[in-house]
Structures are given as structure tokens and as C-alpha cells.
């Protein structure tokens, strides 16, 4: 009796164990049968929601899941983590131009773009994503020329023109002129002119060819006089800014509460403003930028080498960055095309944006793109130094530090990276 119950117990345990193991094995995903599931990782507003539905309809058997990171920095940190881990990146990921150089330090981690697509994009867009052997590794998405978004109701309050052509004439000129108009506005209405001094600092930096690192990737952030000049100009404006750093919780609310009158607006900012303050009717965009024209940001799509569906992923990335699809994304979220064919398309110039008082966004940003005179060089450490630069200005704006101490802190931060 004792022996048989013991034997029964052993057999039962073995049976349970085997059942559990086989259960695990059978739940492993099987990609047989042509059903492909692709993961696309982005942040903010790329305008891909409708495009994905269209792609899935045109390619039965392919499902695309879009994962959105909280913002570009979170996406960068996650990308670093998964690159190091060797798995988990998904099939197509978005890469921002500020940390593109960091990603291009490891060109073999990205699948090359097919040869016949190599002249799809503007030369400067592709060259940043080409490795030392001349192989293009990333699919350009948008070009991000910048205009100035303004709150027409607040402008009306101060007696400033509300017609966007008149605003363009008003704000045309240098940064000093822009600050002067702002000082007049704030003294008249007591309200902030623009959202944050750090946004001003960033905008000025984007107008320089060499900022934090030179073309040999040597760190010049603390010795470059242009960087110090941009810092000084930004902290001097602390009296006319709202202390609502871009993308912060206060900024998101402030957009809808008429807390500041102007916002530096790269084309992709249109989509962000729309989604942050969907009920506001006060925002418009003017065809002007202090100091000339800049390109601020702009992203790429990349297919990681670790993807399990290389062909399907490359097909998706190539389709999403085709001129027609980028034009559709531009109409939805203002992601201005970097594709040569799209820039020549008549649909581009006729695109208008209902949220921004039916502004002819296509025409505005085409003009802004033509006005771009310099391309900023971003080295692998530029994104990190840029965070320190923003912090330095934020410290002064928040009142935690004075301008000189904050700059000294910036210098020691930059040194700590080495």
C-alpha cells in the first residue's frame, strides 16, 4: 500500500511537470503562415495613425503596432537600453536628429537602406545618416523648418496685429528685435511673451553651425563664444518668459490657458500644440523666424539589425517615408517632408491647417525651409550637453541660481562627461 501511493505521487508530480513544460513550449509564438506583426516605436506626433491603417489594408497579413515613448529623451534612453541588451528594439524605430550621431557610432546595428532609395531625400538629411563606408542606414522622415506660432487673442489685447502676414513683418529681423517687441508686449499687458528662456536658447543654438562639438567631435561647448552668447541672450530674457519649459506639465496646460503669446514652432510643433490644447482657438503660425531660418529637429526611421522580420520591416519603413505618405503626415501633424519629390509636389503648397486659423502651413514651412542657411552639426555628446545647456538656463529662470553661477555649473557638467 505504502509503496503504491508513493509511486502514484511521484508519477503524478512528473506528469504535472511535463504538462507545465509542454504548455510553455506550445505557447511560443509561431510566425508561420505569412502573418507578420511589426512593432513601430515613435514618440509625440508623427502622424502615422491613419497611415498604419492604410498600410494594413494594402498589405493583408501584416499588423503594425505603434508604441509611443513619452518623449524623444525617453525613446533615446530606451533605445540605448535595448541596443545594449541585443533584443527588444522592435522592427522599426524612430531616431531623432539630436541623438542620430550617437546611434551612428554603431552603424552595423542598423540595416542599410536599399540602394534605389538613396536619392529620395535632401542631401543634408541623408548625409547625417550615412556611415563612413557611404552606406545609408536610416530613412529620413521630416525636415523641421521653424516658424513662430503666436496667440492671436493675446496679440489683440496688446494692440499688436493679428493677421499673420502683418505679424511676419513685425517680427522680421534679429533676435534682439524679437526681444524688444516682447519687452514692449510684456510691459503693456503684464503677460509673458514666450514660454521659456530655454526655448529661446535652443532656438539660437540651432542657428549655429558649430555648437557643442566640432567636426572632429571634440567638445567645444565651453570655449565656443557663440554658445556663451546664446546663453547670455536667453537668460537676459527671463523677465518676459513664462517659466514653462517646452513639453513640461505646466507648458501643456499653459498652451490652452493663454499663458504666453509666442512659441518657437518647428513644423512638428504644430501637431504637439494641437494635441496638447485641442480646445484652444487662439493659435496661429507666422512665416517668420528671428535671425533667418533654422531647422530644429527632424527625425529618421531605422530598422535595427536585431529585428526578426527584416524584409517586412524595411518595406514598412520605406513606405512610411515615401513622399506621398510624408505629405499626408504633414497635413495631419505638420511633419514637413525631407523627401525631394514631396518638396516639389503641388499638394504641399496647398496644405492648410484648420486649427491654426486655416494657415497655409505648406507654403509657410516651404518658405521657412528655403530660408535655412546653416545646418547645425550634432556630435555623439551633443544631446547630453544640450540637456545641460537647457538646465543652465532653467536654473536662472526658476531663480535657483544667478547667470554666472549657472554657467559655471554648466562648465563643470560638460567637464564631467569626459
Amino acid at each position: 500500500m505504502k509503496h503504491s501511493t508513493k509511486a502514484l505521487a511521484i508519477l503524478a508530480t512528473m506528469g504535472l511537470g511535463l504538462a507545465a513544460l509542454s504548455g510553455c513550449a506550445s505557447s511560443a509564438p509561431g510566425s508561420a503562415g505569412g502573418n507578420v506583426k511589426l512593432t513601430l516605436t515613435t514618440w509625440g506626433e508623427f502622424g502615422y495613425e491613419d497611415l498604419i491603417k492604410q498600410y494594413q489594408k494594402e498589405n493583408p497579413g501584416v499588423t503594425v503596432e505603434q508604441r509611443k515613448a513619452a518623449d524623444a529623451n525617453a525613446a533615446r534612453d530606451a533605445t540605448n537600453t535595448y541596443l545594449a541588451a541585443g533584443t527588444g528594439l522592435g522592427d522599426v524605430i524612430a531616431v531623432e536628429s539630436s541623438w542620430l550621431a550617437q546611434m551612428m557610432q554603431y552603424p552595423d546595428k542598423w540595416r542599410p537602406v536599399s540602394q534605389d532609395l538613396s536619392d529620395r531625400w535632401l542631401a543634408w538629411k541623408s548625409s547625417a545618416a550615412t556611415d563612413q563606408n557611404g552606406v545609408l542606414r536610416m530613412y529620413g522622415v521630416d525636415a523641421a523648418p521653424a516658424g513662430i506660432c503666436f496667440n492671436k487673442d493675446m496679440f489683440a489685447e496688446a494692440g499688436l496685429p493679428t493677421d499673420r502676414a502683418a505679424v511676419a513683418t513685425l517680427l522680421e529681423g534679429s533676435w534682439e528685435h524679437f526681444f524688444q517687441v516682447g519687452a514692449d508686449f510684456t510691459s503693456k499687458t503684464g503677460k509673458p511673451w514666450t514660454n521659456a528662456a530655454s526655448a529661446i536658447g535652443q532656438a539660437e543654438i540651432q542657428g549655429l553651425e558649430l555648437t557643442f562639438q566640432d567636426k572632429d567631435n571634440k567638445v567645444v561647448a565651453t570655449t565656443n563664444p557663440d554658445v556663451k552668447a546664446a546663453y547670455d541672450a536667453a537668460v537676459r530674457q527671463v523677465g518676459i518668459t513664462a517659466n514653462m519649459a517646452t513639453f513640461g506639465a505646466d507648458w501643456t496646460k499653459g498652451l490652452g490657458q493663454n499663458s504666453f503669446a509666442t512659441q518657437v514652432c518647428p513644423s512638428w510643433m504644430l501637431g504637439v500644440i494641437k494635441s496638447s490644447a485641442p480646445d484652444s482657438t487662439s493659435w496661429d503660425v507666422a512665416d517668420v523666424f528671428p535671425g533667418g531660418g533654422i531647422s530644429w529637429g527632424g527625425s529618421y526611421l531605422a530598422v535595427p539589425a536585431q529585428t526578426t522580420n527584416p524584409d517586412a520591416a524595411e518595406k514598412l519603413a520605406a513606405w512610411l517615408t515615401a513622399p506621398e505618405q510624408q505629405l499626408a503626415a504633414f497635413a495631419k501633424v505638420g511633419a514637413f517632408p525631407s523627401q525631394v519629390a514631396a518638396l516639389k509636389a503641388p499638394e504641399l503648397l496647398s496644405t492648410s491647417d484648420a486649427y491654426f486659423q486655416n494657415a497655409p502651413s505648406g507654403e509657410i514651412f516651404s518658405n521657412r525651409a528655403t530660408a535655412i542657411s546653416v545646418r547645425t552639426y550634432n556630435g555623439p555628446l551633443s544631446a547630453q550637453i544640450s540637456s545641460f545647456f537647457n538646465d543652465a538656463i532653467n536654473r536662472v529662470e526658476a531663480g535657483s541660481s544667478n547667470a554666472d553661477d549657472s554657467w559655471a555649473q554648466f562648465e563643470s557638467d560638460v567637464k564631467s562627461l569626459g
Binding site: Y106, A249, D391, A398
Partner: protein, 335 residues
């Protein structure tokens, strides 16, 4: 049992006896070994591997780049950031652990009294613990917003000056400590409640007979008798409190420690060095320094907690004589 089955060979008996002894001696170790094997794999190995990485130059994506001795430790200890982060961590730790434990003890002793719907209250205090920390932080962020947060709006409408939650260092620590306390007070309260309920009722009856008030009973009987649990709660709160990451990381949407590193904690600094600056060697050095700091402070807290809640029930000399006889009298009459 026949005579035949009883008749076993000598050798057979000796072997069985030996197996038996082995069974008795080795079985306990076999039963506890799964835990230790798992710990060795998941806890011990990473600990040693981190120590190894901390002595090498190791980039996140680039990999191992050679032995550098104590360079990483020297670099980390020479960074102002490390000491700022240490100060912030200790400040947030004190602001969270002390109110937490005081409140948890008070709540636990309240829950141990005869309340209506006892179970409801006891489950209720655990609800904050069940919520995801990320969700709680996001909601508290709305409360603590500088311009549009609920608290500052209320202060503004009542004419008081607003608090700069994201600029003032102490204010940011208080905000983060509030989020941490919200989460952990109920959890600790339930653990202390279990300890209070384990105190034999005799002591409370005796103290009531002596005419001791509620407060006197609490300080002289309850606290000393829940000492082991108190020590456990203090040590776990220490270990957790020095590793706070979720709440400060999400305190700002930029997910960093604030423009002047007002709320940068050691684990956040570790994450920034390892994953944003891609320097795993230095991050490992920070990890080991944090480990040593937690060991030291944990030990300190253990000693302090042991001293504060002494094992002896504190009584006045006159009452001691009565105490000695009353429990005996009760148990005698029960028989």
C-alpha cells in the same frame, strides 16, 4: 510481517541506517537549497558581476574596454553630482521614513481597537500600496504643478504665496516624500498591526487593572513588545527608502533630477550615468557605493531601533511587585 521479511542481511540493515542518517541530516539543506540557488543566480551573481564591471571601463553598447582599477570609483566620488545625489537621497529618506513609521504605528494601534467594519478599514489602508507607483506619481504631479497644480491654485485663491515645488529643493523633497508615504504607510501599518495583535492580552489586562491610560500602555507595553517587528519595518523601510527611483524620476516630465539636481537621487544618478551617458563602469561603481551606504545606514537603524524599543517592559518599581503576582493569580483562577 513474516519471519522471512524480518530476516534481512546485516549489510542491508547497515546501508539502510546510513541512508536514514543521510536523509535526516541532508534533507533540511535540500529543502532550503532552492532559495539559495535562486539567490545565488539572481542576487549573488549580479552583485559580484557588478563589482567586476566597476573595475573596468565598460560602455553600454560598446562593451568591455579593459581594466582600470579604482578609476571609476575615484571619478564618481570626485563628481559633485554624487554628493548632491547622496544628500538628496538622505533628505528624502528621512522625510519619508520618519513620518511613515510614526503614522503607521498610530494607524496600527487604532486598527487594533474595536472598530466597526474592522476588515474594511484594514483593507482600506492597503489600497494605496496596490496602486501602480507610476500612476500615483502622475496624479500627484498634477497636485504639485508649479503654475497649475491643485495645491498652488488653492494657495493662490486663499491669498497665500505659492510653493515652488519644482524649484525649491526642500519643497521637491517634501512632494516626493509625500508620494512615497502615501504608498507605504498602509503597508507598514498592517505589518505593525499583526505584531500588536500578537501581544498577549494578559499584559493589557494587567495594565488596565493598574489603571494605566491608553498612552502609557502604548509606550510601556505595546512598543517594547513589537520591537522585532519594528526593527524589521525600519530596516526594510531604510533599504527601500535609499533606493527611491520611480517617484523622483517621474516628478518632472523631463525625467531628470531637476535643473539644479534638486531631487536627483542616487539610483537616478546611477541610471543617468549608465544609460544616458552609456558609462556602465561608473554606474557599477555607483551601484556598489550605494550598496555599502545602505549596509551602513541599515545597520545604524537596526541598532537605533533596538535601543529605542528596549525588550524589558518598562514599569515603575512599585508596580513591578504587583505585576509579578497578577498574571499568576489569573492563571491560577483559570485552572
Amino acid at each position: 510481517m513474516t519471519a522471512q521479511s524480518l530476516h534481512r542481511s546485516e549489510g542491508d540493515l547497515v546501508r539502510r541506517a546510513r541512508w536514514n542518517r543521510l536523509d535526516v541530516k541532508a534533507a533540511p539543506y535540500a529543502f532550503i537549497s532552492p532559495y539559495f540557488i535562486l539567490f545565488a543566480l539572481v542576487g549573488g551573481f549580479p552583485l559580484l558581476f557588478t563589482a567586476w564591471v566597476s573595475f573596468r571601463q565598460w560602455s553600454l553598447i560598446g562593451g568591455d574596454a579593459g581594466f582600470v582599477g579604482f578609476d571609476n570609483y575615484a571619478a564618481v566620488l570626485g563628481q559633485e553630482y554624487f554628493w548632491v545625489a547622496l544628500g538628496n537621497t538622505l533628505s528624502i529618506f528621512l522625510l519619508s521614513v520618519i513620518p511613515q513609521l510614526v503614522l503607521a504605528t498610530i494607524i496600527a494601534s487604532a486598527l487594533s481597537t474595536n472598530l466597526r467594519a474592522k476588515t474594511l478599514w484594514r483593507m482600506g489602508v492597503l489600497l494605496p500600496y496596490v496602486l501602480a507607483p507610476v500612476a500615483v506619481t502622475l496624479i500627484f504631479n498634477d497636485l504639485f504643478g508649479d503654475s497649475f497644480g491643485a495645491i498652488n491654485q488653492a494657495l493662490q485663491t486663499s491669498g497665500l504665496p505659492t510653493i515652488a515645488w519644482h524649484s525649491n529643493t526642500l519643497a521637491s523633497h517634501i512632494a516626493i516624500a509625500t508620494m512615497v508615504n502615501f504608498r507605504w504607510t498602509g503597508y507598514n501599518a498592517l505589518i505593525l498591526l499583526a505584531a500588536i495583535q500578537a501581544v498577549p492580552q494578559d499584559y493589557f489586562d494587567a495594565s488596565k487593572l493598574d489603571g494605566a491610560g491608553r498612552l502609557r500602555t502604548f509606550f510601556s507595553i505595546t512598543l517594547p513588545l513589537i520591537r522585532p517587528t519594528m526593527i524589521f519595518v525600519v530596516v526594510t523601510a531604510t533599504v527601500g527608502g535609499l533606493q527611491i527611483f520611480d517617484e523622483p524620476q517621474l516628478f518632472s516630465v523631463l525625467e531628470r533630477g531637476g535643473p539644479a539636481n534638486q531631487w536627483l537621487t542616487l539610483t537616478m544618478y546611477l541610471y543617468e550615468v549608465g544609460w544616458t551617458q552609456s558609462n556602465l563602469g561608473r554606474a557599477s561603481a555607483i551601484a556598489w557605493l550605494l550598496f555599502l551606504i545602505i549596509l551602513i545606514i541599515g545597520l545604524l537603524n537596526f541598532l537605533v531601533a533596538r535601543a529605542l524599543a528596549s525588550d524589558r517592559i518598562r514599569t515603575s518599581k512599585a508596580a513591578e511587585a504587583v505585576h509579578k503576582t497578577v498574571p499568576d493569580a489569573i492563571s491560577e483562577s483559570a485552572e
